[in-house]
Symmetry: C2
Subunit: 287 residues, 2 copies
Amino acid sequence: MDLLELVSSNKIFGGLQKVFSHQSTELTCKMNFSVYFPPQAEGGDVRLPVIFYLSGLTCSEQNFISKSGFQRYAAEHGIIVVGPDTSPRGVKIPGDDESWDFGVAAGFYLDATKDPWSKNYRMGSYVNKELYDLILSAFENVVDIDRIGIMGHSMGGHGALTSGLRNPGQYKSISAFAPICNPSACPWGVKAFTGYLGEDKSKWVEWDATELVKKYDGPLLTLLIDQGAADNFYIQKQLMPENLVEACRSVGMPVILNLREGYDHSYYYISTYIGEHFDFHAKILKA
Amino acid sequence: MDLLELVSSNKIFGGLQKVFSHQSTELTCKMNFSVYFPPQAEGGDVRLPVIFYLSGLTCSEQNFISKSGFQRYAAEHGIIVVGPDTSPRGVKIPGDDESWDFGVAAGFYLDATKDPWSKNYRMGSYVNKELYDLILSAFENVVDIDRIGIMGHSMGGHGALTSGLRNPGQYKSISAFAPICNPSACPWGVKAFTGYLGEDKSKWVEWDATELVKKYDGPLLTLLIDQGAADNFYIQKQLMPENLVEACRSVGMPVILNLREGYDHSYYYISTYIGEHFDFHAKILKA
């Protein structure tokens, strides 16, 4: 715990919504992340499931914890929830703040291989190795290592899917709100992958959920995908859940696609269905 | 409806969270306000109860609609919820942006009498006359004029209490989160009242809930007051709910004071108990 600095702590639904900062070795910068401890964590004599939540473009660790209302459901189910930031912060790479969909707050949860991004933009290893291990060690008295799930929104939905598919067995449950499902084939993804990974598209398949599904051979997973039908990014084909569903069907991976009439891409939409996602994760993690 | 401009509309919990703007005659500026229409409002063949929600210092109409999670409960109960902004905007009075607790976003829901504030800073009449009448006329097909309540937070809790007590019968149900209960006796209130109303304290009692309770003689009211015990502003005696409770007891007005162990002044706290407040209002408004 020496390496963690407490940024804030607020009581909500009987538990504590905390934000910590720490020095990341993967990203070589100081990073914030959030942890919600439900009331069941008090006392520390019981190990609880954990869900990682990955946020979307332009977000920090704050959006999800202040706007989604997830704490009510995490408290009901007794689940710890961890939320990282969306990119390295303060590393000052030329061009890192010129776009809202590339660079700062747009790390895409991958490990960049192209200069000048490859030194710091390693959100894939940060989330799935460094932060994951940090949570397990710093909170080992309350975390159940065998019951860990992951979810995310938009770019973070892509992150949740790729984190789960690239690391078989590490996450028992996976769900996503309006995820970027096939980044190799949409404008956001092409821009990010070209910038972070280079022009060679054979490298892109390692970070594309629709491609990763086709070669997944880990433990059985069921993917829960949620999508607002009035989401402009869905209509503009940035997200393409149908491509992911088609890939799942081609290899027999169970997938649920819930299309929500009239809902958009915002946290108003997420807050409406976050309870259903917690039910889904709890059913798997508490089985 | 011609006078209303739709700023945004987002589907949440089956209803629509809208923000409108309009030109206010009381404040002589353009103002935003929010309206949540629960799913029961669709079709417009049933008149629903309405709750006005008044926000606290530094807030706009956005904080409550994005952070409290109230829409879940409004949808469950079938209640329309209206949220005004917290002060005139863009009127550019010298000194209006020098403090976070006076001027912009700090209108205190009163009618200023002192220059240069008296022309624009008329939030009392704006909320209780202009906006109230606007809601009743613009949405007359879905609003039940006989079932209107009011609630608020901090400065807006003061606003809810004074609005209800100054206008007997206009609001059937009143509740407040961490309200400024006795502004004449706390630093925030003394600063605001001196600035907006002048030095003559005999004028202050007209806008002080603890004083207004003592001379209230309208229909029976029960005040629901919620207060986080770890709220720094409570500890620093900016809020003083005990003074309000004492005044209620002295005149026999029913009051409920719920002190919440460990909770602070934030929307994390409000989101935890907003459901209980909707239950309270629904019990009265739907009786």
